[in-house]
């Protein structure tokens, strides 16, 4: 049950062996390198590799960006969960041999992306210009032309409707020697040209202004040609740019074919970064390096011989000194491993306590199952999680969560059999109350008090297990008396109180135990205090902590509440579904309501069971003994996100 013990490893050797040793350690993936370089008491200096680190960070950033780009250029159907590709070392070597060519492809992708963006900007500007110009394409003269020495010409817009007509009338009336023409109109404006004699220019200008005339502003490129010519040249330009974009896109598509190779390069870069970060923690003098770290005891000898066999280095292994913190590696049975994710979310155990997972596992299994509490839902959850684990092959935390839910779903099936719940009461509803799902124990809905007692008995065991774990930790730390006085006293007191409820002779024994236990708590729980009276008062206050135990136990009543909630909601769904009876409308309706309702209820019940089992574990159980605050063992290893090198 204790965490895997660690050995402090120290290796020293000539600088010539430095790179080889780090490579070897990264391949072994078994040593966490501690920072020796920045400690002032060693006289060692750090390896200066900031430049290399910056370079590799730059490479990682570029490769990540380009990978994303390449995946967009060559989209492939994305699986729901991405898995690491398994590749051989020869493939890695082949890719690294082509590094120059691949980086050229990276350059191409980056450059083309920029160019395409710029060209698309130009296209948009051309399109806007074309939209502006097109309504004027019938004009057979330069739009910037303001007329001749005798004649003034305006191009522009007038608001549609009455005002335009009114302007036309007035113009014809007061300036008979003028010309007015409408080229096009839309919902808002009419595009017009007006030509008048220079003598009348001022009058007409005012007339125009009064009628809401807006002069056409023409960009400088439009000077000296007709709109039609200009449009034609715009079109030519557009075609040229589009062809350019197409060429660039083809080039980019070509370069994007190396997605898998980029992934291998990226994994190589992250692995190199990992090694450089470890390198910065290695201390050195002019010609010698010293490396210090932690290695799991069971494989420490292998690491030692691997290093000494291949490099001219001195290796020393030693046990951690008492009180020295070492990184935490957990090793649990396969059935227990999934629950590590739950403990990890709370905290990693520290190096002076036990790994709580073997204790977490059975209770989590039981509590989760009872809270879900339905055989049908258990069955569905088992199928769903099995698909995720073995079909989709999810990894990491997600896998562990699926695994403990898979386990818990069997507890739910058993719980459903014991308390007679299979999709609520779907069997009785479908058979018209003629048959019922077997109920091996009792119906919590008819006898909720009995269910509550069951829940609390489980709670008592859970809390007592937590207390026992605390006693065990105290004994491990060499404080057996603390275990007797701080934990044993509560055991005696609480069990005694429980026995009183039984009554009779046993009840009298219980009374005696309760008195003995509480007396121990009052007299000894505050034994740090020197003065007897202070000690007793503090002890009395500690005895008040008994209310905490009662609320802890009561907290387990949520098993009853959540278990009932799930199955009663299932009953409501069945009832709603069967409202229309077993008719041609009723049967499809039942199927529809059942699918949607039970699906939703399953999701919510599973979430509720997970959340509240976690709470009972974190608050009621871990509160008794677990300190946490440890650091997980993070050895120097190949840090690969996309690929795994095998063989």
């Amino acid at each position: 049950m204790p965490v895997v013990s660690m050995r402090r490893i120290t290796a020293a050797g000539p600088m010539s062996a430095h790179d080889g040793v780090l490579h070897a350690l990264q391949r072994l993936g078994a040593v966490q390198v501690e920072d020796l370089a920045s400690r002032s008491d060693t006289g060692l200096v750090p390896t200066r590799n900031d430049v290399a680190l910056r370079e590799v960070a730059g490479e990682i950033a570029r490769l990540s960006a380009v990978l994303e780009m390449a995946r967009k250029v060559r989209p492939r159907k994305k699986p729901m969960f991405t898995l690491k590709r398994r590749i051989a070392q020869t493939e890695v070597d082949a890719v690294e041999g082509r590094e120059r060519e691949l980086w050229a492809a990276v350059d191409t992708l980056e450059r083309d992306a920029e160019r395409i963006a710029a060209d698309k900007g130009r296209l948009a500007r051309l399109r806007a210009m074309g939209d502006l110009l097109r309504p004027w394409s019938d004009v057979a003269m330069d739009l910037t032309d303001e007329g001749t020495a005798r004649v003034r010409v305006w191009f522009g817009t007038l608001p549609c409707g009455d005002r335009c007509a009114e302007f036309e009338e007035q113009l014809a009336e007061h300036h008979p020697a003028s010309h007015f023409e409408v080229f096009s109109r839309d919902e808002e404006v009419e595009r017009i040209a007006v030509a008048v004699l220079r003598d009348e220019e001022e009058d007409v200008r005012n007339l125009l202004k009064r009628h809401g005339f807006a002069r056409l502003t023409v960009p400088v490129q439009g000077r000296g040609r007709t709109p039609a010519d200009w449009l034609a040249s715009l079109e030519e330009e557009r075609a040229a740019i589009s062809a350019g974009i197409e060429a660039l896109e083809a080039e980019r598509f070509e370069a994007a074919q190396w997605v898998q190779e980029f992934e291998i390069l990226l994994d190589g870069a992250t692995t190199r970064q990992e090694r450089l970060l470890a390198e910065a923690r290695v201390g050195r003098t002019g010609s010698v390096f010293v490396l210090s770290g932690w290695v799991p005891a069971p494989i420490s000898a292998t690491v030692e011989s691997a290093l000494q066999g291949s490099f001219p280095v001195a290796v020393e292994l030693r046990k951690p000194e008492p009180g020295e913190d070492f990184p935490i590696l957990l090793r649990n049975a396969r059935l227990v491993q999934p629950y590590e994710v739950i403990t990890r979310m709370f905290s990693t155990p520290n190096s002076s306590e036990i790994d709580p997972n073997p204790l977490v596992a059975p209770y989590f299994f039981l509590l989760f199952g009872m809270m879900l509490g339905d055989a049908g839902y258990g069955l569905l959850l088992a199928l769903g999680t099995a698909f995720l684990i073995w079909g989709v092959k999810v990894q990491g935390n997600m896998r562990q969560m699926c695994q403990f839910m898979f386990q818990g779903s069997f507890a739910a099936i058993v719980s459903g059999l014991l308390f007679g719940s299979f999709f609520g009461d779907i069997v009785s509803v479908l058979s018209g109350q003629k048959a019922a799902f077997p109920q091996l124990w009792f119906d919590p809905l008819k006898d909720p008090v009995r269910m509550m007692v069951v829940a609390m008995v489980i709670g008592v065991f859970h809390v007592f297990t937590g207390l026992a774990a605390k006693a065990y930790i105290l004994v491990l730390r060499g404080k057996p008396w603390d275990a007797v006085l701080d934990v044993g006293s509560w055991y005696v007191c609480l069990i005694g109180l429980g026995l009183i409820a039984v009554g009779g002779v046993i009840g009298m024994v219980g009374t005696g135990m309760a008195i003995l236990g509480s007396a121990t708590i009052i007299l000894f729980s505050a034994r740090d205090s020197k003065r007897f009276l202070v000690r007793c008062f503090k002890g009395l206050y500690n005895l008040y902590g008994i209310t905490g135990y009662f609320s802890d136990i009561l907290s387990y009543s949520r098993i009853l509440a959540l278990g009932l909630a799930g199955s009663v909601i299932a009953m409501v769904i069945n009832m709603m579904g069967s409202i229309a009876g077993f008719t041609w409308i009723g049967i499809p309706m039942f199927i529809l309501v059942a699918l949607a309702g039970h699906g939703l209820n399953l999701a919510l019940s599973t979430l509720g069971a997970y959340v509240h089992t976690s709470r009972l574990t974190y608050v009621e159980f871990f509160g008794k003994f677990f300190e946490g605050g440890g650091h997980a063992f993070e050895p120097l290893r190949q840090k690969r996100k996309h690929t795994d090198v095998v063989g």
């Binding site: 509440a561 509720g608 974190y618």
Partner: protein, 168 residues
């Protein structure tokens, strides 16, 4: 006086009181959950505009204050069954029994309402925490679940009162 007597015979009788209790249990809890899920949802929508990849994680946090509504529905259902509204035996309810049903629904009516809103606030802050540290989602969930404890206790109180406290 006559008017008041008529009113009281219409409203102060067993079936109406029990019906009202069940109804208000569903109202209080559903109302609270709607608010709670709304509070959390607003926070989640804000975060999603920046980090759309967190959708799955935030959805779970947003769903947490929704359980109170379910507990209300549960209470309503048990009232419907126990008071005989589903099989038509409700006519025999005495005024006292009706009042007992109503009183038994009080914990759910009130506590589910307030706890759902509080839980919504905790969940909203959990959502903001997840925005910065996506790996800490389970801590946000557990913090929100601490509030839910009291919703569960209220549900238990109501349920046990209805199932055990009222003899018919």
């Amino acid at each position: 006086m006559d008017f008041l007597t008529t009113l009281s015979t219409i409203f102060l009788n067993g079936p109406v009181l029990a019906f009202l209790g069940g109804s208000l249990a569903a109202v209080g809890s559903g109302w609270g959950s709607a608010k709670g899920v709304g509070i959390a949802g607003e926070a989640a929508a804000g975060v999603l505009s920046e980090k759309p990849e967190l959708f799955g994680k935030l959805l779970i946090l947003q769903a947490l204050p929704g359980t109170q509504g379910i507990y209300g529905l549960l209470t309503w259902f048990i009232v419907m069954v126990k008071a005989g509204f589903l099989d038509g035996t409700y006519t025999s309810l005495t005024t006292t029994q009706g009042l007992l049903f109503f009183a038994a629904c009080l914990p759910v009516m009130i506590v589910e309402y307030t706890s759902a809103i509080s839980q919504g606030r905790v969940a909203a802050n959990g959502i903001l925490m997840v925005a910065h540290k996506p790996d800490e989602q389970s801590k946000g969930i557990v913090l929100a679940a601490m509030v839910e404890t009291y919703a569960i206790l209220a549900l238990l109180a109501s349920m046990l009162m209805i199932l055990l406290g009222i003899h018919r």
